[in-house]
């Protein structure tokens, strides 16, 4: 079974397109390395940046090891608190990716369910969901994320802000991004629900929910996959923006955005490495995700074949 699935996958149009696109191969290679680096952070890192007893102020503000005054123990140098930048980036990458994936999953789950409901049921349910979506879409995404973030922080007592920061971020970004999924899925659902196989299922007495989950959902997932890929890049960027603005991850548990914010304070003082390296990693990550998403969109679009 596994063999046939694999051989079918290898034989598919999608894989053929993948093999013939150097951007797809390169970006997935970059992404896989970044995912591995993030997943293996505790093994690869030379220091646990969350354990304050491992920070020695005497080693603060060291440049990268190849620069003059660098120290081989700190490959990419250290920040003002003697946090090893290389280790911080690995752990920060991990947080950024967790927030990215989790918020995309939340947005997709929410958007797909609402889109299915609206498209299948139509009428008042559809109108309500789509008007809410229209309203959300008329605000810039970052504004909605800031709003959700602000409300969540207002509800939580201040001492829980640091612990809850990651959940608040996931919630804020997830609640901001579901609209695209809902619109796309609704459109596809409205097309699918009038097709013969759906009517056959209806005649056979399958319930509405059963039809939505078992019959329509598998047929509308293609575009969702594309949106999710491109949205991952957006989610990582939104997380970085919120953290850069100081409402994301706290300085004691820095994500990539927090690292860039900390580094930004030293822009004028010559500590270029504190801001450059996390920024480069962020750019590479988002670029790779977007390139892969672009490729996937083209590859799954029958009109372009």
């Amino acid at each position: 079974m596994a063999d046939t699935t694999l051989s079918r996958a290898l034989d598919s149009d999608l894989f053929w397109s993948f093999r013939n696109s150097w951007t797809a191969r390169l970006s997935s290679l970059v992404l896989i390395s970044l995912f591995l680096a993030a997943a293996l952070a505790p093994v690869l890192a030379t220091q646990d940046p969350y354990d304050i007893s491992q920070l020695f102020l005497l080693d603060s503000e060291l440049p990268p090891m190849w620069a003059e005054g660098g120290d081989p123990r700190y490959i990419l140098g250290t920040d003002q608190q003697a946090r090893d930048l290389y280790s911080s980036i690995l752990y920060g990458l991990r947080l950024s990716l967790i927030v990215g994936f989790a918020s995309v999953a939340l947005a997709a789950a929410l958007g797909v369910s609402l889109g299915l409901l609206g498209g299948f049921l139509g009428g008042v349910v559809d109108a309500t969901i789509m008007r809410v979506a229209d309203v959300l879409l008329s605000f810039p995404a970052i504004l909605v994320a800031l709003l959700v973030n602000g409300i969540a922080r207002g509800i939580l007592p201040p001492e829980q802000h640091a612990d809850a920061a990651i959940w608040v971020l996931i919630l804020a970004i997830g609640l901001t991004n579901w609209v695209q999924y809902a619109r796309t899925v609704r459109g596809s659902t409205m097309v699918e629900r009038n097709k013969e196989y759906v009517q056959a299922a209806r005649i056979n007495g399958v319930s509405g929910i059963g039809i939505m989950i078992h019959h329509i959902l598998p047929n509308v997932l293609g575009p969702v996959l594309v949106i999710a890929t491109i949205n991952l890049g957006m989610a990582v960027l939104t997380e970085a923006t919120l953290s850069f603005l100081g409402v994301g991850m706290p300085a004691t548990q820095p994500s990539l955005g927090t690292l860039i914010r900390i580094g930004n304070e030293y822009l004028f003082s010559g500590l270029w490495w504190v801001v450059i390296f996390p920024s480069v990693v962020l750019v590479v990550l988002v670029l790779a995700v977007n390139l892969l998403g672009d490729w996937l969109r083209d590859a799954l679009n029958p009109k372009l074949r």
Partner: protein, 521 residues
């Protein structure tokens, strides 16, 4: 003033585009709380309003007390001081300054609802003797009366009544009134416009009673929150003076053409208070280990302030063992000696006290109040962890932090004290060491009470003999040092940056007094 204008007019007349030469553009990290001089105790807001309003006596550029709206004073009874007021002073709105203004202003400042009442303790009444003479009636001898008065500004009584603003307001409670956005003082500058959090503009007052040392015609003040943006504004020529200038940018500013840093040791002592109450706010052991002197000493030994000075403060702080700076009355060298940095000794003391594996506690710090406050705390947390403690670092905006300090919801907490406006060690004793009660002990750490310190504080408050007063102050401060109730860290530096064309004195209290500023071409 007229002569001065002529001089500057002559000077700039030679230059075609000299019109902005006497405008000083000044940026700080935050805005003032409002223009009402009695609405907050915040020293930055107070010095800003000092440009518009004036006290009876004032500090000069070297922090000596000199006459301002009062020309002389005399203690006629132990609890009654007679002030002779300056003739010929007019407010910006044209009203003449007289005794009624002093009476209304002082009583407004000490009103039970006024946040400023603690800055002028013991005043019970102001009696008008004649138009230009008032008596201040006090609860008892008040050796620091003139120090207190430097910070109590005089408003026009008629103007207050006309606008229904005689009742005090409390800006920290979000109260606003006519006086929040309008001003009418006797000072060297007049308010031209105020846009909160954007721009405050003042222009020179031609009718000022004093002969101005400044040559400014206009001051534009804008708050710029981000350190990097503030520095960029200075470097690009948009701003002439920034306060504070971030320490990490000092080399960059000094190397840039046309601007330079102004750095000096300041008065503000940064220190850590230690919760000595029944239990820790966030502990993992029974009771409160900090009640044991050895544990407090261990905490002290764990912190390497020299390293924090070299790395985080870039060599600019003055590491101290004293709760008051050398310029403050009551300071003595022997109280300035720190317990040395010695993590092994810290571990030994912890083990001796019964905590060989350490214990958890909160380390509470503000992140927007003192220079590098959060960075200092992060570094200290690492050092404490290396000496066997388990600090949990909590860094919060100042509003939340100081609310926690007030409510004793902190274990080891950061506080800075500059003894302003008194410049006297009594301020530390009354606010931070005396057992809480009445005006005393607002910031005293939970659970601390030393009856000898209380006794001395009460005596110092009314002692008029300076020598005996100093002796008592010395004894009390040394007792506090031995108790390790506060762990002093350093005096934070004053760090300003200015355009080379700006000349301005930098007094040890770190306050910007633009009536001493000159702009040259």
């Amino acid at each position: 003033m007229f002569r001065n204008l002529l001089m500057t007019a002559a000077a700039v007349g030679c230059l075609a585009a000299g019109a902005s030469a006497e405008t000083l553009r000044y940026a700080t990290a935050r805005d003032i709380y409002g223009l009402d001089p009695h609405a907050v105790t915040d020293s930055f807001t107070n010095i800003f309003t000092h440009h518009i309003y004036e006290p009876l006596v004032r500090y000069d550029a070297d922090l000596n007390i000199e006459p301002a709206l009062a020309t002389s004073w005399e203690v006629i009874e132990p609890n009654r001081v007679r002030f002779t007021l300056r003739e010929g002073v007019t407010f910006h709105g044209g009203q003449t300054f007289d005794a009624a203004d002093v009476q209304v202003s002082l009583m407004r400042a000490v009103d039970p609802r006024s946040p400023l009442r603690g800055n002028l303790p013991g005043l019970t009444a102001v009696e008008i003797v004649d138009d230009m003479t008032v008596d201040l009636v006090l609860e008892g001898p008040t050796p620091l009366l003139n120090n207190y008065l430097t910070n109590i500004f005089i408003l026009d009584s008629g103007w207050l009544e006309e606008h229904g603003a005689t009742a005090p307001i409390d800006a920290s409670q979000g109260e606003e009134g006519y006086t929040t956005n309008n001003a009418n003082g006797t000072g060297p500058f007049m308010l031209e416009s105020r846009r909160p959090d954007a721009l405050n503009v003042m222009v020179a007052y031609d009718g000022w009673w004093d002969s101005p040392e400044h040559n400014l015609t206009r001051i534009e003040h804008s708050p710029i929150g981000s350190d990097a943006t503030r520095v960029a504004a200075l470097l690009s020529g948009e701003i002439d003076l920034i306060e504070p200038a971030p320490l990490q940018d000092a080399p960059r500013i000094d190397n840039a053409p046309g601007v330079h840093m102004m750095q000096n040791p300041g008065l503000r002592t940064i220190m850590m208070g230690i919760n000595m109450g029944e239990s820790l706010v966030d502990g993992n052991v029974e009771g409160n280990p900090f009640q044991d002197l050895r544990v407090r000493e261990a905490l002290y030994h764990a912190v390497n302030m020299e390293l924090i000075r070299d790395r985080i403060m870039r060599g600019n702080s003055r590491v101290t063992g004293s709760l008051i700076a050398p310029q403050v009355t009551g300071y003595a060298e022997e109280m300035d000696e720190r317990l040395p940095y010695d993590p092994d000794r810290a571990r030994a003391l912890l083990a001796e006290a019964g905590y060989p594996d350490g214990f958890a506690f909160n380390l509470n710090c503000p992140n927007d109040r003192y220079i590098n406050d959060a960075a200092i705390c992060q570094a200290m947390a690492a050092m404490m962890a290396q000496a066997g403690f388990e600090p949990r670092l909590v860094t919060e905006p100042r509003q939340i932090h100081f609310q926690r300090v007030d409510n004793h919801e902190v274990d080891v907490f950061m506080l800075g004290w500059a003894t302003l406006p008194m410049l006297d060690g009594f301020s530390v004793l009354s606010a931070m060491l005396a057992t809480p009660g009445g005006e005393y002990g607002t910031f005293t750490p939970a659970g601390y009470s030393n009856s000898r310190i209380d006794e001395l504080t009460q005596s110092i408050a009314v002692e008029v003999d300076p020598e005996h007063r100093l002796e008592m102050m010395h004894e009390a401060l040394m007792a506090a040092r031995d108790d390790v109730v506060w762990m002093p860290l350093h005096q934070q530096p004053l760090s300003w940056a200015v355009r080379d064309t700006v000349e301005i004195p930098q007094p040890a209290d770190g306050l910007v007094r633009l009536w001493y500023a000159r702009v040259t071409d």
